[in-house]
Amino acid sequence: MRALALAPEPPWEDVCALDDILPGTGVCALVAGRQVAIVRTGLALYAIGNFDPFSKAFVLSRGIVGDRGGIPKIASPIFKQSFDLRTGQCLDDSRVRVPTYEVRVERGRVLVHREPRPGEHHGA
C-alpha cells in the first residue's frame, strides 16, 4: 500500500488528542498499517511498537507504565517483560528490542512519525 502512494504522504500522523491518553497509561494507534503503542508517563510521551515479541501478541500499549531504576518503561501485560520506552530495549532480555517511533505534541494533538526510528530491533 505504501508503495502505491502517488504523492508522498506527510511524515507525521495525527492520531489523537493528548487528553485521550491519561498520564500513566498507553493507547494503541494504527499508523501506516502498523500498531504503535503511545505511552504517556507523568512527564513525557513515547511511542514503541505494540507487538510483544515474547507472546507474539499486539498488546504492549495495555501494559503497566512505570520505571526501573529511573528508566521509563512499560511491562507487557502477557508475561510481564519490561521495555525501555526511550529505546525499545527489553530490560529483561538484552537480545530483544522493539522499534520506537518519534512522537510529538502540537496544539494539544499527538503526532507520530510514520516510520520507526532507524536502528535494529530484534524479536524474541
Binding site: 500498531q35 508517563t41 511498537g49 499486539f58 501494559g63 512505570g66 511491562a75 519490561s82
Partner: protein, 846 residues
C-alpha cells in the same frame, strides 16, 4: 577417673538449665549427678504457666524429659523433696528416706508464693499461683463460681488475673500500692495500664489493704479492706510476692540474707564453698531475683565454678517485657530514674492507651532506662541502646514519639551497636556471635538463627533485631531477603495497607509521594490498586486508578494469549435459570465466542475483542447478569452442591448459603483471588476443604474451614469453628477476609498466608473469635462498608462515556485488531496459532 558426686536440689527452670549447661559443657561425665524434684514432674516453663489454660498441656510446657536425663547419666527423683542437708557427713536425705552423698551440692529450690497473714486466709477457695497443680486446683474451683479476686497487682498478679478472665470469671485485682506493677513501672505507666486492663473488663482496686477474708460455710465470700470497703468474691488468688525457699539452707546453718535467700558470692558459692545456690532461692548483693534471666545467668556461673572456669556474676539486667492481658508492658534499665542527675522524657497518649518514658543521662547523651506501656515494639532496640551506651541522637524524645510522615526512623539501626553488645538478654547472646553464625552457617531465616545461637528462644522480644541482623548479613553476602514491595516502596504490603487506611490516602500518586519513590511499576501499582479498592471501594477505572490496573482489571475481562479477552458473568452459587442459559448462548453466538464451563460452576466466553466488550456486557446485563470478577484478585465463586432442597443426603440448604456468601463478598479486592464453596453435607461434593474459605453443613449448622488451596500446591483447609449458625458464620467470615486483606503479602493466597502465621489456627481463633487484638469490630465495620458500596463494575462502566471510550483497540480507528484470527475447531472458534497466522500479520510487524 573416679567420678565425684553432685546433688542438685530442685528441678525448676533454673535447676534444669544448670543441668543442661553442665551436660553441654562436656563435664557431665566427671560427675555422678542426682537431682530431686518435689513437684510430681520435671522442669516446665513456669513463665508461660498461663498458656496451660489456653490448651497447652503439661507435656507441651515441659522443658526436660526423663529420657534426656537418663542419656546424660542424671538420676532423677521426682516427687521426692530433699528434707535435710548434713554438711558434716556431706549428704542429703530426702522425704522418702533416700540418703545421697555429695562432693558438691547445688541449691535450686526456687521460691514460694507469699501469702499475707490476713485473717481468714484458710477458707476454701483461696489459692496461690505457681505450679501446674495450683492452676488445676484453681480451674476446678473456677468451674463452680462466677467471680474471683487476685490479691496483688504486680506482674504475677496480673498474670493470675489473666488466667481468671480466661476461665470466664468476673475478675478483680486488689493492690496495696497506689498503682499496678509498682516495681516495674511509674505512675504514668500505671494509669495507662489500669485503663487498658479495666477496658478488658477486669476491675482494678488500688490502694486497698485487705484486712479480712470473710467466709460462709468455710467458703470464701468477701474481702474486707482497711478503709471500711469490701468486695464480694467467691475465690481469692494470692499473688502478693514470693519468698525464697531457703529452709534447707537455714537448717544446716548456711548464711541467710536479711530478707531471706541463701547468700552467694559472685561465683554462686554459699558460705560453705562446696554448696552453691542459684535462682530465686539465692541472695546476691543484698537481694533475691524473681526473674528467670538472672537465674539462668547464675546457672551458667555455677557450671563455670564447678568446671574450673572463672565466670563471675555481675549486675543483673532486670529488664522485662511482657504481654499482660494483651497489653504490652516493658521496663528496662534504670526505669525509676534513681541515678543522680538523670532526666526523664515521656509521652502519653491516653486515647490510644500508650505511655512511654525514657531515662537519659544528665548530658542527654546516654540512655539509662525506660518504661513502655501499650506499645513496646521498640523495646529490644531501646534495651540494646541502654546496654551498649552508644551516643543518642540529638533529640532523644524522637525515640518514643510516634513516627512523623516521611520521617527517618528515629532509632539508630542495629548497625550502631557494638559487636559485643547483647542482643538476646535471656540467653546472653552477643551481636557478634549472631552475625558470625549467620555468615559461617549460611543461615537464611530467623528460625535458623534461633536454633543455631539460642538467641530469641527466651522471651522472644529480640526477634525483630535478629531479623534486622539477618537482613544485614545476608545483604552483605549478596542475598536478598527484604519483603519490601518493590524498588519503589521500602515497605511491605501490610504496612502500606495500614498507611492507606490510617492516613486516608486515596490515590497511588499520593501514596508514592508520601511513602515511595520513582514512578511505580507493574508490581506496586496493582498492589496499591488492590489496597485502595479494598479500603475505599472506588471504581477501578476511575481516572486516578485506571493506570494502576493489570490489563484484566483495566478492561474488566481476562486477557488471553493472543490479546483477546474472555468474559465470565457471575452465576452465584452456580445456580442459573434456563432463561439466563439461553441468553448466554445467544450472546456467545452473536459475538462468535468460544464457550466453556469453568471449574467454578460458571461459563467462560472466549475470544472477545477489546472493542466488543461493552456491547457484550450490555446484552449480559440486560439478561440479569453482573460482573463475575474473574479478572480481579477478588472473590470468584462460592461453589455449591445442590443441598437439602433436592439431595436426599443434604442437611442444609447449601445453595442459598452459597448465594448469600457470594453476594456478600462479590467485588471484594484482596491480595489474591479468593475461592469458596458450600457443601450441604459431610460428603463434601462442593470440595469446600480445598478453598480459601469453605463451609460444610452439619445437622446443627455449619463447619467453617479456612485457608485451603487447590492449584499448584494443594492444601487442605483448616477446621476453624463448628456448628455455626448463619449469622455467626458471616460474622467470622467478615473478620477473616478483612484480616487477610489487611495483612497478607501481595499475591499471597490464604494458604501461604496461613502457613506464615505464627500460632496457626489457634492464633486465628484468638484473633477472630476471642478478639485478642481488639480489632474485630473494626474488621466488621470495614467489611460492612465494602458490602454497602458494592456496585457491578460493568454496569457502572456502561453508564460512563469516559470509561467506555477506553474500550477500543485503536485510538485513531474503529478497525478491529487484524491479528486476531480465528480457526474452527469442534464447531467453535479458536485463536489461530502463530504459524497459522504469521504470514497474514507480518506486514504489521516491522
Amino acid at each position: 577417673m573416679t567420678k565425684r558426686d553432685l546433688v542438685v536440689i530442685g528441678n525448676g527452670m533454673v535447676g534444669h538449665r544448670f543441668l543442661d549447661l553442665l551436660v553441654e559443657s562436656g563435664h557431665g561425665d566427671c560427675w555422678n549427678i542426682v537431682t530431686f524434684s518435689e513437684e510430681p514432674r520435671l522442669a516446665y516453663d513456669r513463665v508461660n504457666l498461663t498458656s496451660f489454660l489456653g490448651g497447652k498441656t503439661a507435656s507441651e510446657l515441659s522443658l526436660a524429659s526423663p529420657g534426656r536425663y537418663r542419656d546424660a547419666g542424671v538420676t532423677v527423683h521426682v516427687g521426692d523433696r530433699a528434707a535435710s542437708i548434713d554438711r558434716r557427713r556431706r549428704q542429703v536425705t530426702s522425704e522418702h528416706g533416700r540418703s545421697v552423698p555429695y562432693h558438691a551440692l547445688v541449691l535450686a529450690t526456687g521460691s514460694a508464693p507469699l501469702v499475707p497473714a490476713i485473717p481468714g486466709r484458710e477458707a476454701q477457695g483461696c489459692f496461690v499461683y505457681r505450679t501446674i497443680e495450683d492452676l488445676e486446683a484453681i480451674r476446678a474451683w473456677a468451674a463452680r463460681v462466677q467471680t474471683g479476686a487476685v490479691i496483688g497487682g504486680g506482674l504475677l498478679g496480673l498474670e493470675a488475673a489473666h488466667a481468671l478472665t480466661r476461665m470466664g470469671l468476673g475478675t478483680h485485682v486488689v493492690e496495696f500500692a497506689p498503682r499496678l506493677m509498682s516495681m516495674q513501672i511509674d505512675e504514668g505507666g500505671g494509669e495507662i495500664l489500669r485503663a487498658k486492663i479495666e477496658a478488658l473488663g477486669v476491675s482494678v482496686h488500688t490502694g486497698k489493704h485487705t484486712t479480712q477474708i470473710v467466709s460462709e460455710d468455710g467458703r470464701v465470700s468477701e474481702l474486707r479492706f482497711a478503709d471500711g470497703g469490701g468486695l464480694v468474691t467467691e475465690m481469692v488468688v494470692f499473688s502478693a510476692g514470693i519468698s525464697a525457699r531457703d529452709e534447707l539452707a537455714r537448717d544446716c546453718g548456711l548464711e541467710i540474707g536479711e530478707r531471706g535467700g541463701v547468700v552467694i558470692d559472685d561465683r554462686c558459692r554459699t558460705s560453705d564453698p562446696d554448696i552453691l545456690a542459684i535462682g530465686e532461692c539465692a541472695h546476691f548483693r543484698g537481694r533475691t531475683y524473681g526473674l528467670v534471666g538472672p537465674g539462668y545467668q547464675m546457672a551458667r556461673t555455677a557450671v563455670s565454678t564447678l568446671t574450673g572456669g572463672d565466670d563471675r556474676l555481675g549486675a543483673f539486667d532486670m529488664s522485662t517485657k511482657l504481654k499482660l492481658l494483651g497489653v504490652d508492658v516493658a521496663s528496662f534499665g534504670d526505669a525509676h530514674a534513681t541515678r543522680p542527675g538523670s532526666r526523664v522524657v515521656s509521652f502519653t497518649d491516653s486515647v490510644a492507651g500508650i505511655y512511654k518514658k525514657l531515662v537519659v543521662s544528665a548530658d542527654r547523651q546516654r540512655l539509662l532506662g525506660g518504661v513502655l506501656v501499650g506499645e513496646a515494639s521498640s523495646y529490644a532496640q531501646l534495651l540494646s541502646l541502654t546496654q551498649a551506651q552508644v551516643a543518642l541522637p540529638p533529640h532523644p524524645e524522637q525515640l518514643i514519639l510516634p513516627r512523623m510522615e516521611g520521617g527517618a526512623p528515629p532509632l539508630p539501626g542495629v548497625d550502631a551497636l557494638p559487636e559485643a553488645s547483647t542482643i538476646c538478654t535471656c540467653q546472653n547472646v552477643a551481636k557478634g556471635t549472631i552475625c558470625r553464625a549467620i555468615c559461617d552457617r549460611q543461615l537464611d531465616s530467623v528460625a535458623g538463627v534461633k536454633s543455631a545461637t539460642g538467641a530469641g528462644t527466651g522471651c522472644g522480644s529480640c526477634a525483630p533485631l535478629l531479623g534486622e541482623l539477618l537482613a544485614r548479613e545476608m545483604k552483605r553476602a549478596g542475598k536478598a531477603v527484604t519483603n519490601h514491595l518493590c524498588e519503589h516502596f521500602s515497605r511491605t504490603r501490610q504496612e502500606l495497607h495500614h498507611l492507606v487506611r490510617v492516613q486516608g490516602i486515596r490515590s497511588f500518586d499520593e501514596l508514592i509521594a508520601r511513602h515511595g519513590r520513582g514512578s511505580g511499576c507493574e508490581i506496586c501499582k496493582p498492589a496499591a490498586a488492590s489496597i485502595l479498592a479494598s479500603t475505599w471501594n472506588e471504581h477501578v477505572l476511575d481516572d486516578r486508578h485506571v493506570g494502576l490496573q493489570d490489563t484484566n482489571d483495566r478492561f474488566l475481562a481476562n486477557i488471553q494469549r493472543d490479546g483477546s479477552y474472555s468474559v465470565v458473568p457471575r452465576v452465584p452459587g452456580g445456580e442459573i435459570t434456563p432463561e439466563q442459559l439461553v441468553a448466554l448462548g445467544r450472546t456467545a453466538r452473536r459475538f462468535g465466542l468460544y464457550s466453556k464451563i469453568t471449574g467454578a460452576q460458571r461459563v467462560d466466553l472466549f475470544g472477545a475483542r477489546l472493542e466488543q466488550l461493552p456491547a457484550i456486557w450490555r446484552e449480559l446485563i440486560a439478561a440479569g447478569f453482573e460482573s463475575g470478577h474473574a479478572y480481579g484478585k477478588a472473590l470468584r465463586t462460592v461453589k455449591s452442591c445442590v443441598g437439602s432442597t433436592w439431595c436426599r443426603f443434604g442437611v442444609q440448604d447449601s445453595v442459598s448459603t452459597a448465594i448469600r456468601l457470594e453476594n456478600r463478598y462479590k467485588g471484594l479486592r484482596a491480595p489474591h483471588k479468593l475461592k469458596s464453596a458450600v457443601s450441604g453435607c459431610a460428603r463434601e461434593c462442593a470440595e469446600a476443604q480445598g478453598k480459601d474459605f469453605g463451609v460444610i453443613a452439619t445437622e446443627k449448622g455449619y463447619n467453617l474451614y479456612l485457608c485451603g488451596n487447590g492449584g499448584m500446591k494443594p492444601q487442605h483447609a483448616q477446621l476453624f469453628a463448628t456448628d455455626l449458625d448463619e449469622e455467626t458464620l458471616v460474622r467470622y467470615l467478615d473478620r477473616f477476609l478483612m484480616f487477610y486483606v489487611r495483612t497478607a503479602d501481595r499475591l499471597q493466597r490464604t494458604a501461604a498466608w496461613f502457613n506464615n502465621l505464627e500460632g496457626g489456627i489457634e492464633y486465628l481463633r484468638q484473633v477472630l473469635i476471642e478478639d485478642s487484638l481488639g480489632i474485630c469490630a473494626e474488621l466488621e465495620a470495614d467489611m460492612a462498608r465494602i458490602v454497602e458500596s458494592y456496585r457491578c463494575e460493568w454496569t457502572a462502566t456502561l453508564e460512563d462515556p469516559a470509561k467506555l471510550a477506553r474500550f477500543r483497540t485503536f485510538v485513531n480507528s474503529p478497525e478491529p485488531d487484524p491479528s486476531l484470527i480465528r480457526v474452527k475447531q469442534r464447531a467453535q472458534a479458536r485463536p489461530a496459532t502463530w504459524s497459522e497466522k504469521a504470514h497474514l500479520v507480518e506486514e504489521a510487524v516491522p
